[in-house]
């Protein structure tokens, strides 16, 4: 089996327009959540989110591209540009056919759906732009990345709600480990902060109107975010042979299904995914110094996740650190695991553990070291990243320092 390493990272999200800005914000415990600037905000009861601000699409893309690229595709392309530039890779000949794209998104081109429904239902128009379908399809971002960088191997999109990115990155890992591919551009993207995208979430009554406070006793729900993060996953021997800088090694992945409830999470399902990732990575529980939590800030997730971690790690659960960066960038739904992997890389490379901000009151049902409010310096050599989706789908990645 091949070893798999990360040789490039890129992002755009509420905390920053690249990796350096995002990690600086996480280090400072800065909050990217604020009042939303979207159409018809007065008809929403939830009016905050982790929005990418001061974003001018025409500063990055020309008019023809904007006609084809939904916001989630634009975010993906910007993140991919940064990641591939860092990797130093150029995809030609055999490398091109041995390289692919595996991305996660839950909603795909939600803004495109929203705008065009408005125009036919609200404004009564009978004609839409010819590119509506290629713009909104969930695989649009993966396809545009493949075209832009000449990636001719496997390319597809995974949609498993809030676990989409982790499932995508887990599959990318397995495809390189098995020898199927040499390089995969992976990660995920979401751009759901529009009237319809928020109205749908409001209906479920799990959203906070003021802040995302994971693990805090006074938490009152999740806050949506938007953006993308992508990574270059590469065969270790391939990366070594070309002298690439290696950010971290991906060592394990596991996915499980609760097979129980469409919205309520199960501690057993989460625990099986965590334990499975450790086994797959051949790591002992004591090796893990940090977990990037799913930590949505809902009553249901946070206590279930803490119970799962406590069960999976036994006494070591009290010695490891676990934080939720959603408190800063919001919940990017299908893109969330990708942005959160940046916090894992920061822990392994820089020895800085991103905090859980907005933490105000201990909750006995979440009695773990959640790195409250302030980032911490600590040397960790192995980490996990959790993602647990509606539908009871759990996906956990394991990484090691290299």
């Amino acid at each position: 089996m091949k070893r798999v390493v990360i040789t490039g990272a890129g992002t755009i999200n509420a905390l920053g327009k690249n990796v350096a800005e995002t990690l600086a914000a996480m280090r400072e415990g800065r909050c990217g959540i604020g009042p939303l600037d979207i159409r018809d905000i007065d008809r929403l009861s939830v009016q905050i989110g982790g929005q990418v601000r001061d974003y001018d699409e025409l500063a990055w893309f020309n008019r023809q591209q904007v006609a084809l690229y939904d916001r989630f595709t634009q975010f993906t392309l910007l993140a991919a540009r940064e990641a591939i530039a860092q990797s130093g890779l150029h995809f030609e000949d055999e490398l091109s056919t041995r390289s692919g794209v595996v991305l996660g998104t839950a909603g795909g081109g939600v803004n495109t759906w929203d705008e065009n429904y408005r125009s036919v239902y609200e404004e009564g128009k009978n004609r839409v732009h010819p590119f509506v379908v290629p713009k909104l399809m969930n695989n649009a971002a993966a396809s545009h990345v493949s075209m832009e960088y000449n990636l001719k191997g496997p390319a597809f999109t995974v949609a498993t709600a809030c676990a989409s990115s982790n499932h995508a990155m887990g599959l990318a890992f397995q495809m390189i480990r098995s020898g199927m591919c040499s390089v995969i551009l992976t990660g995920g993207s979401e751009a759901m902060l529009c009237f319809g995208g928020i109205k749908a979430w409001e209906g479920l009554r799990v959203m906070s109107r003021d802040a995302c406070r994971p693990f805090s006793a006074n938490r009152n729900g999740m806050v949506q975010g938007e953006g993308a993060a992508t990574f270059v996953f590469e065969d270790y021997d391939h990366a070594r042979a070309r002298g690439a800088e290696i950010l971290a090694e991906v060592t394990g992945f596991a996915m499980t299904s609760d097979a129980a409830d469409i919205v309520m999470p199960s501690a057993q399902g989460a625990e099986r995914a965590i334990t499975g990732a450790l086994t797959d990575a051949r790591m002992n529980p004591e090796d893990v110094g940090y977990i990037n939590a799913h930590g949505t800030g809902t009553a249901a997730n946070d206590k279930t996740e803490c119970a799962a971690v406590a069960k999976a790690f036994g006494p070591h659960a009290d010695r490891l650190m676990i934080s939720s960066t959603k408190s800063m960038h919001g919940h990017l739904i299908g893109g969330t695991g990708a942005v959160e992997l940046l916090a894992c890389i920061m822990a392994l490379r820089d020895g800085v553990i991103a905090p859980t901000i907005g933490y105000e009151e201990p909750d006995p049902e979440c009695a773990l070291d959640v790195v409250p409010n302030v980032a911490r310096e600590a040397k960790v050599t192995a980490v996990l990243s959790n993602a647990f989706a509606f539908g009871g789908l759990n996906a956990v990645l394991a990484l090691r320092a290299i």
């Binding site: 479920l204 799990v206 729900g221 309520m264 809902t298 009553a299």
Partner: protein, 89 residues
């Protein structure tokens, strides 16, 4: 149909019971209504009475909308309807 009968009809439909089987002292748990069923019932109440129910599933007691029994829910809905009429009138 008065508020009480309408609320009972909504709860009975959610519980897949006859309205006559829903008693005022029942809790939603007694009727087999889970958290998703509760959120759906609240949506149906909002639609039926054109009111906005202050309810956050993360902290069901926070909004002051008492869901501890069928009687409590009816009283809370009557309160919201009165408020709406006061504003409207």
């Amino acid at each position: 149909m008065n508020v009480q009968d309408k609320v009972i009809a909504i709860i009975a439909e959610q519980a897949v019971l006859e309205p006559s089987d829903v008693k005022l002292e029942h809790s939603l748990d007694d009727l087999g209504i889970d958290s998703l069923g509760l959120v759906e019932s609240i949506f149906a109440i909002e639609e039926a009475f054109d009111v906005s129910v202050p309810f956050n599933a993360n902290d069901p007691t926070a909004g002051g909308f008492d869901i501890s029994s069928v009687a409590a829910i009816i009283a809370a809905v009557e309160g919201l309807v009165r408020e709406k009429e006061a504003v409207g009138g």
